[in-house]
């Protein structure tokens, strides 16, 4: 499989504090890769580095083109949709406006309208609430809106930052089912950050494990899942 995203010796900094120390990380075209680790390991920072939202050094390539140092909005326009932690919903705008904001980089009005309907097809509850202010939605609905907004970009790659956070188990199950469908039928590759390792390893085909900004191990998701020592030491289940 060809590589969609490649990061080499990636370091990231918040002010003078270094948070990532030379990560190497790939996402295969068409695959789902998960990034696991404890609180404060640097998972969110890794995603933010890939989207150009913090100061980094190293080499990041998307479809072979170097993207590090570029502005966030330019990286997004290449087809990388980032669903941030806390969902990043525009709470005073309506559900439909949130989706339109997601398509702001596109000009094909007809296709945008069709894509809004497509998102509603995946998430019928959003359609029921399409004129409601997004801030009035439940946590699960907001997460679905965040994923829907990312879909509006027609991305090649989705960066998902803890989509299961704070959601009821049933809602998580539904959401992850939809992520799987998106990956299979719409050929959206994904880089998934999760605290819920069991869940993430089920969905993903490849996994990275990081600790305090350094890579601890990587391999096929299956392999990490079956390794009892790793499970006990790092994944906590």
């Amino acid at each position: 499989m060809s590589k969609l995203l490649e990061a080499q010796s990636l370091c990231a900094y918040y002010g003078p504090t270094q948070v990532l120390f030379g990560l190497a990380l790939d996402v295969n075209d068409g695959g789902i890769t998960t990034l696991l680790g404890a609180n404060g390991a640097g998972k969110t920072t890794t995603l933010r580095s890939l989207s150009g939202m913090c100061r980094t050094t190293g080499d990041i390539r998307f479809e072979g083109k170097a993207i590090n140092g570029r502005a966030t909005e330019d990286i997004v326009r290449l087809g990388i949709a980032h669903v941030p932690q806390g969902r990043g919903t525009f709470s005073r705008q309506t559900v439909e406006e949130n989706l339109e904001i997601g398509a702001m980089t596109r000009r094909d009005r007809k296709a945008i309208a069709a894509d809004v309907e497509r998102v509603y097809g995946y998430f019928p509850r959003l359609k029921e609430r399409h004129r409601q202010q997004a801030g009035t939605l439940s946590g699960g609905e907001q997460q679905m809106l965040a994923v829907g907004r990312a879909m509006m970009l027609r991305p090649r790659l989705m960066l998902l930052d803890e989509p299961s956070f704070g959601l009821a188990p049933l809602v998580v199950e539904e959401l992850f089912g939809i992520l799987r469908t998106l990956n299979r039928s719409e050929k959206v590759s994904m880089l998934l950050v999760e605290q819920n390792a069991a869940l993430a390893l089920d969905l993903a085909d490849h996994a990275y494990l990081i600790e305090t900004g350094r890579l601890v191990m990587e391999g096929p998701a299956q392999q990490l899942r079956d390794n009892e020592n790793i499970r006990r030491a790092y994944l906590g289940y």
Binding site: E73, V76, H82, G88, T89, F90, S91, E100, I101, L153
Partner: protein, 292 residues
């Protein structure tokens, strides 16, 4: 009763100007979280440009339109040149930049056009509107133009994609960037629009207060008061607050003997302090809640 109605209508006319200034202030506040103290001087400078164009023989409405375009461009330029470089700087740096802008524009206007008071023609003519006694032609024209302007702005922000992009950029800049919106340019666009709105306010009020470098001082104060009353986070509230300030100003000046003409300006300050004490988020604003 006639006096009362007369004062309310005249108050709505100046209130429209305050509403425009309040809206300009709120638009910039939403985008960069700072109050632009130079908003009034920007409007004053625009009005001088209009005056100069008219002196050069431009017909009024052509000068009016050209001034709006020039002001818009100047607003964008100010954001790019002065504010972009300091956008991460602390609040005091912003205050200093605004004060610098204020005094540069004030002195610049005095230097270019001197400090004498100039009259500024009203495009609506003098005399009473439609022959009745309640409202004169200029006040009626002011109300009409401000309402038209506010309506156009409402349609722009509600029903265009760029308006939605600007609202998104102001509401949540980080998420807006993640949707590919160029937030920096949206801020610049907001500055341009605020400057253009201010220029309309300046040109409309100039026939009433006369044209001179300090003409917008009291008007901006009422604009601030309107913005604070309505809530700095609510454009609609700011417009309402602006109109309300115009009416309060006139009624207080007429019916409270101590206030009279001289003490009118203190009304604005009293209202600002009172609102900030009692309901800091304003009538329509939302309290800012931060997770710590």
């Amino acid at each position: 009763m006639e006096l009362f109605l007369h004062q309310v209508l005249a108050g709505l006319a100046t209130g429209g100007i305050y509403a425009c200034m309040a809206l300009a202030v709120v638009m910039i506040y939403q985008a960069i979280d700072h109050l632009n103290f130079a908003q009034g001087e920007m409007a004053m400078f625009s009005t001088f440009i209009a005056w100069q164009l008219i002196q050069w023989g431009f017909p009024y409405w052509l000068a009016f339109g050209a001034t709006i375009v020039i002001s818009f461009a100047a607003g964008v330029l100010i954001e790019r040149v002065v504010l972009r470089p300091i956008h991460d700087a602390p609040i005091l740096s912003h205050v200093v930049a605004f004060i610098a802008l204020l005094s540069i524009l004030n002195s610049g206007a005095g230097f270019l056009w001197d400090w004498t008071i100039k009259s500024f023609a009203s495009p609506f003519g003098s005399g009473q509107f439609l022959g009745q006694t309640l409202i004169n032609k200029h006040d009626a024209g002011m109300i009409a133009v401000t309402i038209l302007l506010l309506l156009l702005l409402y349609l722009f922000f509600r029903h265009t994609r760029i308006g939605l992009a600007m609202r998104a950029a102001a509401a949540n800049p980080e998420s807006a960037r993640l949707a590919g919106i160029r937030v920096g340019w949206m801020t610049a666009l907001g500055w341009g629009m605020a400057a253009a709105i201010g220029s309309v306010a300046g040109m409309l009020i100039a026939p009433v207060v006369f044209l001179e470098p300090n003409m917008m001082l009291s008007i901006l104060l009422y604009g601030f008061a309107g913005a604070v009353v309505g809530g700095l986070t609510s454009p609609g509230g700011a417009v309402f607050g602006g109109f309300l300030m115009g009416v309060i100003e006139n009624l207080a000046g007429t019916y409270i003997p101590v206030v009279g003409r001289e003490m009118k300006l203190s009304i604005a300050l009293i209202i600002i302090v009172a609102i900030l004490t009692v309901k800091p988020s304003g009538l329509f604003g939302r309290p800012v809640v931060t997770r710590v």
